[in-house]
C-alpha cells in the first residue's frame, strides 16, 4: 500500500513520495545535498570548510525536511484472554514504528477519543493522522495469540491492508521477535519498503572478567542482550549468514585468529581448519549462504580468499600481492565485492570494488595521491548500490561514517560529525546503519537513519567492537 498524494494536508511534499526502492528515495535527496538542513542533535556542520579539504568531493549531511506522516494507533483490544497481551503488543509496535524514523506516531490515545467500534475518519483527519492502526489480540487455542490488524487510510476512509499474525505467549522467548515482524509488515504496507524491527545485531564485547571479548547479540530495539560464546579469549568481526541461522567470526581461542561458524539454534561451532599458518580475518557471507569470503594475513599466502563452507572445500585466492586486502562485503546479487586495501600504502587504506571472482578493482573512496585519506570497513547495502564505510575527514584524526553511491565517485554522504565513529553495518531495510562510536562519556553502539539523520544509542558505556546487523529474521 503506497501513501497517496493528498490535497488538503499540511505536508510540503512536492518531491516524489516515498515509495519504490531506497536508492530511488535517496536519489531525490542528492539534489538537496548542498542545501544542508541540520537535525538538532548533530550540531553545526560547515559543508564549505570540509569541501576545501577534499577538492572535488561533495559532502553533505542529508536530512528530510522534517515531515513524518502521522500514524495513529488505537488502543489494541483483547478477546478470548488476549487482553493481557494486547497492551504489550501495542507498545512494541509503537516503539518499532518510532524507531523506523518514518512516522510521527500517535499512540496512548485516551479511550474517549479512540471511539467505539467504528472509525471516525473525519476526527482522525482533523488530528492529522495519515493512517490508523486498529488491532485486537485474541487468545488462540494453542496457548499463543493471534493479532488481528487493519491499516486504515484516513484520506480514502477505508481499510487498505489487513493481516492476522500468530504470536506466542509473552513469556515465550520468540514473543518479541514475532511482534517485530508485525511492525515490519506495517512498514511494508505504508511505504512499500522493508522494515528492520525483526532483526538483531551481533557484536564483540568485553565480558564480565574485564579481559576477554565474547560474541553478544541484541535485538534491534535494544532488548534481549545475550552472550553467545564462551571462548574466554578474543573475538572479532561477526558476520550473519543471509538466512540468519549462522554467524561467522574470528576467535583467538585456539591460536591466532581462526574463523568459526556457529549455528545459533544448536550452538554448534566449528573452525575453518584450512591453513597452517597466518590469521583468518573478517569473514563475510556470499548472498547464497554457502561461501565465505575472508582475509588470510601472514603465512605463505595473504589476501582475500573464498571458501565453500557448505561443501567444505575449494579455497580460492581472489586477490594477490603482499599487501593487506581485508574486510570484504558482497553486493546483494553476489556478483561484486567491496573491500579494504592498503595497496596505495599502509597509511592510506582505501575502499575498492571488484568482481567477486577477483580481477581489476575500482576505487570508490575519495583518495588523492599525496593526501592523508584513510577509509576502511566497507559494508554494502542490502537494498542497492550504496557502500557505507568510515573515514577520516577532518585533520583532527577522528573518523566519520560515510556512504558512497556506486557510479557517483566524488560524492559522499556523511552521517556523523560528533566524536569518533567506525564500522558501519546496514540494517535489512537498507536505510539504517549501526556503528561503533566514541563520545566524551565512553564507547557505544549507535543507530543512524540515512533518511532523517536521527541517531539513537543502542548500547552505551560498554567496550564494544565491530557490529554486524542481521538480515530480517524469519519466523519459526
Amino acid at each position: 500500500m503506497r501513501p497517496n498524494t493528498r490535497n488538503g494536508c499540511d505536508s510540503q511534499r512536492d518531491e516524489p513520495r516515498p515509495g519504490g526502492s531506497i536508492p530511488g528515495a535517496i536519489t531525490s535527496w542528492w539534489l538537496i545535498v548542498l542545501a544542508v538542513i541540520l537535525a538538532p542533535a548533530s550540531g553545526l556542520f560547515e559543508v564549505g570548510a570540509q569541501e576545501r579539504e577534499f577538492p572535488g568531493v561533495e559532502l553533505g549531511l542529508v536530512y528530510e525536511n522534517g515531515f513524518a506522516p502521522a500514524i495513529a494507533i488505537r488502543p489494541f483490544t483483547g478477546r478470548f484472554g488476549g487482553a493481557a497481551a494486547a497492551a504489550q503488543v501495542e507498545a512494541i509496535i509503537a516503539r518499532d514504528l518510532r524507531y523506523s524514523d518514518r512516522y510521527s506516531v500517535m499512540d496512548s490515545i485516551p479511550p474517549a477519543l479512540a471511539g467505539g467500534d467504528g472509525i471516525d475518519y473525519t476526527l482522525w483527519d482533523r488530528l492529522g493522522a495519515v493512517w490508523l492502526l486498529n488491532g485486537s489480540v485474541e487468545g488462540s487455542g494453542g496457548g499463543g495469540y493471534v493479532v488481528d490488524l487493519q491499516l486504515h487510510d484516513i484520506v480514502y476512509t477505508q481499510v487498505t491492508d489487513r493481516g492476522r499474525f500468530e504470536v506466542p505467549r509473552p513469556d515465550d522467548p520468540g514473543f518479541r521477535m514475532a511482534v517485530h515482524r508485525i511492525s515490519d509488515a506495517v512498514v511494508q504496507w505504508t511505504f512499500g519498503e522493508p522494515g528492520m524491527a525483526a532483526s538483531r545485531i551481533a557484536f564483540p564485547m568485553t565480558r564480565d572478567d574485564g579481559q576477554t571479548k565474547e560474541l553478544y547479540i541484541i535485538d534491534a530495539d535494544g532488548e534481549n542482550l545475550q552472550r553467545v560464546t564462551n571462548h574466554r579469549d578474543l573475538i572479532l568481526s561477526p558476520a550473519w549468514s543471509p538466512d540468519g541461522s549462522r554467524i561467522a567470526f574470528t576467535s583467538y581461542k585456539d591460536g591466532p585468529a581462526l574463523i568459526y561458524e556457529r549455528n545459533l539454534a544448536t550452538g554448534d561451532e566449528h573452525a575453518l581448519n584450512i591453513i597452517r599458518d597466518g590469521m583468518l580475518l573478517t569473514p563475510a557471507y556470499h548472498p547464497n549462504g554457502d561461501v565465505l569470503a575472508f582475509n588470510i594475513q601472514g603465512g605463505s599466502r595473504s589476501g582475500l580468499f573464498t571458501y565453500d563452507v557448505r561443501r567444505n572445500c575449494c579455497l580460492t585466492n581472489i586477490t594477490e600481492g603482499r599487501r593487506i586486502d581485508i574486510s570484504p562485503s558482497y553486493s546483494p546479487d553476489g556478483r561484486r565485492l567491496a573491500f579494504n586495501s592498503n595497496r596505495y600504502g599502509d597509511a592510506v587504506p582505501q575502499i575498492f570494488v571488484m568482481s567477486s571472482n577477483g580481477g581489476d578493482a575500482e576505487l570508490i573512496s575519495p583518495y588523492r595521491y599525496g593526501q592523508q585519506g584513510y577509509y576502511t570497513s566497507p559494508d554494502w547495502s542490502p537494498q542497492g548500490d550504496l557502500v557505507a564505510f568510515h573515514g577520516r575527514i577532518e585533520r583532527s584524526g577522528l573518523y566519520q561514517i560515510l556512504v558512497a553511491r556506486m557510479g557517483e565517485r566524488g560524492r559522499l554522504l556523511q552521517l556523523t560529525s560528533e566524536g569518533n565513529n567506525e564500522d558501519p553495518s546496514w540494517a535489512p531495510d537498507g536505510r539504517h546503519l549501526v556503528f561503533r562510536g566514541d563520545r566524551s562519556w565512553g564507547r557505544g553502539l549507535f543507530i543512524v537513519d540515512t533518511g532523517t539523520g536521527a541517531i539513537r544509542v543502542l548500547v552505551s558505556g560498554m567496550d564494544v567492537s565491530v557490529p554486524d546487523w542481521s538480515p530480517a529474521l524469519p519466523g519459526g
Binding site: 591466532p256 597509511a347 567506525e422
Partner: protein, 190 residues
Amino acid sequence: MTHRRLAVPVLVAALWAMACRGDPPPPPTPPVEEEPEMPDTAGQGAAAAAAAAAAAAAEAAARRATAVATLTETVYFDYDESELRPDAEQVLRQKVEILRGSPAVQIRIEGHADERGSTEYNVALGQRRAETVRQFLTDFGLNADRFAIVSYGEERPAVNQSNETAWARNRRAEFVVTAGEDQVNPPGGD
C-alpha cells in the same frame, strides 16, 4: 624573649653550618680482604672452590637474565607504518646476536597497533609489523621456523589511555620466549 629571639638565628646558623659542611663524607672503604693463611686442609679448599663456583654461577645467571631481557625487549613503530625505525633495528640486532648463540630458543612475535583507525585493519597492520620484524631477523640468517607470529591489533594496549604518549607505546612488537628460556646464551659466549 631573648631566648626566643636568639633561637631562630642560632637554628639558622646551625642549619647553615650543617648544610655547608660540603659533600657528605665518602663511604668508608671496604676492608681489604687479607688473603687468609692457607691451612692445608682439603675441607677449606673445597669450600673456597664452591664459593667461587657459586659466584660464577650467579654472574652467569645475571648475564643470562640480561640476555633474556634483551630478547624480550619491545620495539616500537610509527603511526600507520609497519616499517622498522632505526631504534627498532638496533634492538633487533642485539636480539640477533643472542639468538645466534642460542639455537634452542624460539620466540613468538606479537604485533600491536594503537587504537586509532579501523579495528580490523589494525589486526592486519599488527601482523605486518610482526612479519617485518621476522623478516629482519631472518635476513641475518636465523631460521624463520623459530619465530611464530600473532597480531592483536588494537585489542591489547600496553597503555590504556587515549593520548599521543599512550599511542606511541601501543604501536609495538612484543617478544615472548616460547622455548629454550633456560638455554639462552649471552652474546659472545658464557
